[in-house]
Symmetry: C2
Subunit: 324 residues, 2 copies
């Protein structure tokens, strides 16, 4: 009707490439006359896109992941994409399994939160040609990632404690193998102590699970060490909240007796008393950046980087005291 090719109509609808002004008007007029409504489904069929993004996270009992998912969801909707979530419990088996399911239902792209990404999965995803973005941690350099600079942020938090006069600083870390909250945050702790010429005391580094209850258990272990630290750097806010609860239960005051520093800036960190000092960043922003760039990859658009770092800052509240 407009005397143009389907490709040209598509360009007009999607604004994907420049189209001559007169041609554009002709196409729009023809669309009006025929009541042609380019809906998501039709666009989808034409492009062989499902308009579906698969999101794989270990679990949802975790405010950081919730925020991340909300960020992904927000941007996806804006661009007309739907998301489906799967819970992997962080195991390679489940990751492979759900990745295959997403392939079967023809997801256009995948966002993966995985603390210990295995080469096997990366290869599988590459072969499948489905765009992937990894969130929350650094990666093998071939996979695009969005994350906080965990090493630097942890280094800054511990350096801040040292500047407040603390030299006996313990860390409740997450287990080795969990790249972001485990290894990288611990590296920052080590670097800060090294720079200040403080040696690391083995009994003051305790591996913790990631629940508040785990924080309670791990804090108890620190208290069983021969001497007490004056400050504890915790790999996550949930661990920090557990640690604070244990200290309060045994009659120690935070921060007068022991200072606590967290990481993540979850909303609860400002609703407990004392308010928790913590490394703050926006997990929502991580999700939004990941979704935005995944959609660019799907559409074959250029992306500005393969590694996006979401900024952080130290939110100094009431759980740290200055030593004289």
């Amino acid at each position: 009707m407009a005397g143009v090719s389907i490709a040209t109509v598509s360009r007009v609808i999607n604004n994907s490439k420049p189209v001559n002004h007169d041609v554009r008007i002709r196409v729009l007029k023809a669309m009006e006359q025929t009541n042609f409504l380019p809906n998501a489904m039709a666009r989808n069929l034409a492009k062989k896109e499902s308009l579906l993004l698969g999101v794989m996270v270990p679990e949802v009992k975790n405010t950081v992941l919730d925020d991340l998912i909300n960020g992904i969801n927000q941007v996806s909707r804006l661009y007309g994409y739907n998301i489906m979530l799967s819970l992997t419990a962080g195991t390679l088996e489940n990751e492979l399994h759900y990745f295959n399911m997403f392939r079967e239902i023809q997801a256009d792209g995948i966002i993966l939160a995985s603390e210990n990404l295995k080469e096997e999965l990366v290869k599988g995803i590459k072969v499948s040609n489905i765009p992937l973005i990894l969130v929350g941690r650094d990666s093998l350099d071939t996979v695009p990632t969005v994350h906080v600079d965990n090493v630097t942020a942890a280094y800054e938090a511990v350096t801040y404690l040292i500047q407040q006069g603390h030299r006996k600083i313990a860390m409740l870390r997450v287990r080795s193998g969990d790249i972001a909250s485990g290894d990288h945050r611990y590296q920052g702790y080590v670097r800060a102590l090294n720079e200040a010429g403080i040696s690391i005391y083995k009994d003051w580094v305790v591996e913790s699970g990631i629940s508040v209850e785990d924080g309670i258990t791990s804090m108890r272990k620190i208290c069983e060490a021969e001497s007490m630290p004056t400050a504890i750097f915790c790999a996550t806010d949930r661990i920090a909240i557990g640690a604070m609860n244990y200290l309060l239960e045994i009659g120690l005051r935070v921060p007068e007796d022991v200072s606590i520093f967290g990481f993540d800036g979850i909303d609860m960190s400002s609703f407990i008393r004392p308010k928790l000092s913590t490394v703050k960043y926006s997990a929502e922003e991580i999700g939004m950046t990941a979704a935005r760039n995944l959609i660019k990859l799907i559409r074959g658009e250029e992306i500005s980087s393969r590694h996006w770092i979401v900024s952080h800052y130290l939110e100094n509240r009431d759980s740290v005291c200055t030593l004289n």
Copy 2:
């Protein structure tokens, strides 16, 4: 090889119908000799099941829904089902949309958390013949549901406050239309006050959003009323935590000046100070019961009821004081 029909082999593998003992042995022997491993996918193809459960929740920034999802996930894995989650933001449009996506990817059944379920969706689901279970609230009586007895639980919480000597009891409720945390919990509040012959004071009933920040805002409104209540019943723990934070900020003590009672028993309710008195129940149990019975429906097995009530109790901690 065993000289039996495919249907018989299927019966042996799935234990779905009785099979003659000798036949059973023959089939198992043949399977052993041929290294035949009935995997999930093959079972799936034979049964035309996708072994996939669709789960629709409004959002994930909410501990109760996280626990619910974890419960669903746990039982689903046990039975060899996978789950895919979608976030509906609680709108009918999204619910219909994701329901259609689940139909397209041939989900075997759907678990839906929806505060204001519309007849339109229920009809769509019925036509599709996909088993559905609704969680978290009562329903139109044709849809199977798993939930807490919200009216009774709220009634008990407010009655407890009255028994502690409170007569000036405000409520931070969720908006009308949200069946469980909105209407039903409010009904319980009204019933308890009515029974005790206490009239309801309009300015002490405030509609709140569901975030902690909303709780802060709503508590401020109560404080702006002409007189202060001595106790606040909050429709959710997150609202209660917000209310407590606001009171602490303006220099009022909980429970000495104002008592607070929550609902949900989220983990944070025991990690804040004072520890929150609340209606406790297991959202995980709701999820598990829903998944278990959904799988029964999918398999055509009998279910014991169409309305499962998960039990609750009052967890009396430190946020309520007794008036003389």
